[in-house]
């Protein structure tokens, strides 16, 4: 925090963010171990207020030479500061660290990877299996001229499996992943089981049911529905007027069974933190309750512009987080979609005829802000309540806001984690447009 003192001598206020990443990643390509990678990386970012104006700069390394000067140049040409740095520091801690996870030996990663490859090849010997396993720690130290520095070390453990199944004139790609804080939460067999289920369901090719169809979005595919909400519920989008939810606080815009919560304080949650990257304590924030818009998530800047309270959602690196190079922006932590009832099988029976969306391609393309989506889908045809095979060359399209208001037939009773960021049950929507070639 020596840099912070240097900055403090030349500015009215300053805030220093230091991230120290240490970890190991093992990469299996086509079933064979290809690379083991380790990192020892320090990133630093300085914000300061000089002559009433905000400045920012970032760099790497412990010495961070020139960082103070760079931030001062930025401030010199910058705009008046809309907010001061947060004088907090006594918020209760959330569990984000696990000693055993931080110390997982490199060999253990290799062994999990090998097991996954073997288990998949035992049932599908001809598929190409790519596995990535990573574990490590990110230690964040945040200090500012308003309060003493705080440090939080956070562990992570992540597994990602991708399988390519190539047959004559057909290539089928499936994927599954898990991101957790602790080895106790880690279930590598569940990732493999999910892959095996996708391979089994996609073995046969089936004709696409076209037109306005019921579509059962499995948790992985629900991201296509939720992505517009990430933009819509961002306090900055509301301030800028690019959110369709602007001015809709308290209005019933969704089906009464739909609820959405951003929980930044989930004990040992994969994206939990005691404080955000601006030092604001994280919160449990209700976004939608019984279909009614309840709130938006803010960082310090958006909160200042909206004259709202910051919600502890100021994180670096945008929606995915983790990059010291960018200033904080509003970012949700764990989006929790309230579950309904019924197992996956019961939902498929309930649907009768329709389409299951396993995953989509081209996530994030198109006019997300308006809620519109139009994506190539990896999915399965359902007839008389049974999965009959995989569809090809199929696109689904619709509008999130319209479908979650008028088209929600059912929410499942068995939520799952997606990328450690979204906890959602399968979602059955009526009236999704399905086209095929």
């Amino acid at each position: 925090m020596e840099l912070l003192q240097q900055a403090a001598r030349r500015a009215e206020a300053a805030e220093l963010y230091v991230a120290r990443r240490q970890g190991t990643t093992a990469v299996f390509d086509a079933g064979d171990l290809e690379t083991v990678k380790s990192e020892s990386v320090v990133g630093q970012a300085l914000r300061l207020i000089a002559d009433g104006k905000m400045g920012f700069a970032a760099t790497t390394g412990t010495k961070a030479e020139g960082l103070v000067e760079a931030a001062l140049v930025s401030a010199q040409h910058g705009d008046p500061a809309l907010f001061g740095f947060h004088a907090g520091g006594d918020e209760p801690a959330v569990g984000v660290y696990d000693k055993e996870t931080a110390g997982i030996p490199d060999d253990q990663l290799l062994s999990w990877g090998t097991q996954a490859v073997k288990a998949i090849h035992a049932e599908f010997p001809d598929v190409q299996v790519n596995v990535q396993l990573a574990r490590g720690t990110v230690e964040v130290t945040l200090g500012n001229t308003a309060s003493p520095p705080r440090t939080e070390e956070r562990t992570y453990l992540a597994m990602e499996v991708e399988v390519e199944w190539v047959r004559e004139n057909d290539i089928y790609s499936v994927g599954s992943s898990q991101a957790v804080r602790t080895v106790a939460q880690f279930d590598h067999q569940a990732v493999v089981a999910d892959i095996l289920r996708q391979l089994a369901w996609g073995k046969e090719i089936a004709p696409t049911p076209t037109g306005k169809q019921p579509v059962l979005f499995l948790p992985q595919a629900t991201l296509v529905i939720y992505l517009p909400l990430l933009v819509g519920f961002s306090g900055m989008s509301v301030v800028l007027g690019t959110s369709p939810l602007k001015g809709k606080l308290g209005e019933q815009l969704f089906d009464p069974r739909f609820s959405l919560l951003d929980d930044g304080r989930l004990e040992l949650g994969p994206r939990s933190a005691s404080f955000d990257d601006e030092g604001i304590p994280t919160t449990r924030l209700s976004l939608v309750e019984s279909g009614v818009v309840k709130g938006f998530f803010y960082d310090l800047r958006a909160a200042a512009l909206a004259e709202a309270k910051p919600t502890g959602n100021g994180f670096k690196g945008g929606l995915l987080g983790g990059d010291f190079r960018t200033p904080p922006s509003p970012s949700p932590r764990h989006l929790i979609v309230g579950p309904g009832q019924g197992s996956l099988n019961e939902m498929i029976k309930e649907m009768g005829d329709g389409l299951i969306a396993q995953n989509v391609m081209g996530l994030g393309q198109g006019n997300i802000a308006s809620g519109a989506f139009s994506n190539n889908v990896i999915g399965y045809a359902v007839r008389d309540g049974n999965v009959v095979g995989r569809v090809k060359n199929t696109m689904i399209s619709g509008n999130t806001y319209e479908l979650l208001r008028d088209g929600l037939r059912a929410l499942g009773g068995e939520p799952e984690w997606i990328h450690g960021a979204v906890h959602t049950p399968p979602v059955l929507l009526d009236g999704v447009n399905v086209v095929t070639r």
Binding site: E34, T62, G362, N433
Partner: protein, 457 residues
């Protein structure tokens, strides 16, 4: 740093070792509506060590030069550990030992342009867009420049120093009418100096006008159409739908895919030529030497309709018995090189736009791109905007146009290639394997394709 790198490589106890050290200086100015979202000039350094032992890779990252000796040891240790688990060892194709220094020459070096001037320029474009119409509710104007000083050395004796400039400008407008929100953008990006981003007022106005026009456009009706792609979208198409499957790391370990992507296979009509080139003056994808120290090659992916080349790293070239092409690239010192495109384009053909459109009874003229994604044969990409084609003429604007299909069918269905070639750098970049954005350039003339599936409502 040079002497430290040479010294540590000489002492490494691996079969092969390489060190890459980057010094980056960048500046960024971003506005959204009336908000200055970014204004900075920052610098960073970082390095990556790759060691090979027994055909397995160990990799170690560092941000402090003093850690180089320990990270060379760490990479070697990891490679040794990995080598005990490897079934099929990785080999590296032979390449000439290179010793080269390349200093970039810029017309107006953006490093000596004061941050205040960059801010003023971006602010002017931002104001142009905001003032265009009361229906413009927000903007996204972003200027970036990056100057990368890149040092590469390996234990075979190759030593390369190169400077890589990159400058981009994004001009985006968001328009709103009642509940409907539409956006439009123009982008530019080149390996150039500050001169590139000046005098772009027309592009700012074009983005603003289009965002407003899209408010009155109807969503496209889904179905199968004959589609004319403009240069920008055709460029994205050839990059996304075809370029990615010509990256050898994608198929070199998969016998099925190697069979599908066999050189000599007919992929399209004889007038179709597709190239990936490591150097075109000013292009963002320029890679004189790639991140394995390999000198650039110009690769014909499709020549006269026939698959005639793939893009390689040293490892994929070794495995497939081919020559490395200089396509091993990484976005920064944080990542190991993987097979990536550089400047990828469809060569111009002979058709005029009038010849393409005149006999289309009901089709789509799809323009510019929001993005695209592929899953081997399956691809999907979205046009930023489009027009209906009716009775051989360009009709009303339509929106939400997403194209999808099977790349092999689509390539076969390209029946006309235009003369009006353009190379487009853009302000984004390519993403693959968690590495995003990598500066690349796409290019093409207008291209006509039959039987394209268009998603819609």
């Amino acid at each position: 740093m040079e002497s430290l790198v040479r010294e540590e490589i000489a002492q490494a106890k691996a079969d092969f070792v390489e060190v890459r050290w980057d010094e980056l200086a960048w500046s960024k100015v971003a506005f959204q509506r009336d908000q200055l979202m970014a204004l900075e000039e920052s610098k960073e350094v970082g390095g990556i060590v790759r060691a090979m032992v027994g055909g397995a890779w160990g990799v170690a990252l560092l941000t402090d030069p003093a850690e180089l000796p320990t990270q060379v040891e760490e990479a070697t240790r990891l490679a040794r550990m990995a080598s005990r688990h490897v079934q099929e060892p990785t080999g590296l194709a032979d390449v000439p030992v290179e010793e080269k220094r390349h200093v970039a020459e810029l017309q107006e070096d953006f490093r000596s342009v004061p941050l205040s001037r960059k801010r003023t320029q971006a602010e002017e474009y931002n104001k142009l867009i905001l003032d265009f119409s009361p229906e413009i509710v927000s903007t996204s104007v972003r200027y970036t420049d990056t100057y990368r000083k890149n040092l590469y050395a390996n234990s075979e004796g190759t030593f390369i120093y190169q400077e890589i400039p990159d400058v981009t400008l994004l001009l985006a407008a968001v328009a709103r009418r009642n509940g409907d929100i539409q956006q439009a953008f123009e982008t530019i990006g080149e390996a150039a100096g500050y001169e590139l981003v000046q005098g772009q007022e027309k592009k700012a106005e074009a983005a603003a006008k289009r965002a407003v026009d899209l408010l009155s456009a109807e969503p496209v009706t889904g179905g199968t159409y004959t589609v004319i792609l403009d240069q920008q979208l055709a460029g994205v198409f050839i990059h996304e739908a075809f370029g990615h499957i010509c990256e050898a790391d994608f198929l070199f370990r998969n016998p099925h895919m190697r069979q599908v992507m066999k050189l000599g296979r007919q992929f399209g009509a004889p007038m179709l030529n597709v190239v990936d080139d490591g150097f075109i003056p000013g292009a963002r994808g320029n890679t004189l030497f790639d991140d394995e120290g390999v000198r650039r090659q110009k690769v014909y992916l499709i020549k006269d309709g026939v698959l005639s080349g793939l893009m390689h790293s040293r490892a994929t070239a070794h495995k497939m018995g081919m020559e490395p092409t200089g396509n091993a690239r990484s976005i920064s010192w944080e990542h190991e090189p993987i097979v990536r495109m550089r400047n990828t384009y469809i060569e111009p053909g002979e058709a005029t736009f009038d010849e393409m459109i005149k006999d289309i009874n009901h089709g789509i003229y799809a323009k510019a791109a929001f993005g695209g994604q592929t899953m081997f044969e399956q691809f999907t990409f979205s046009a930023a905007y489009a027009h209906e084609i009716k009775g051989g003429e360009v009709g009303p604007m339509v929106r939400d146009v997403v194209l999808t299909g099977n790349v092999f069918h689509i390539l076969q269905n390209i029946d006309m290639v235009g003369q009006d070639f353009q190379l487009i750098g853009g302000s984004g970049g390519c993403g693959k394997g968690g590495q995003m954005p990598l500066p690349v350039t796409d290019g093409a003339p207008h291209v006509r394709v039959n039987e394209v599936t268009v998603g819609g409502r």
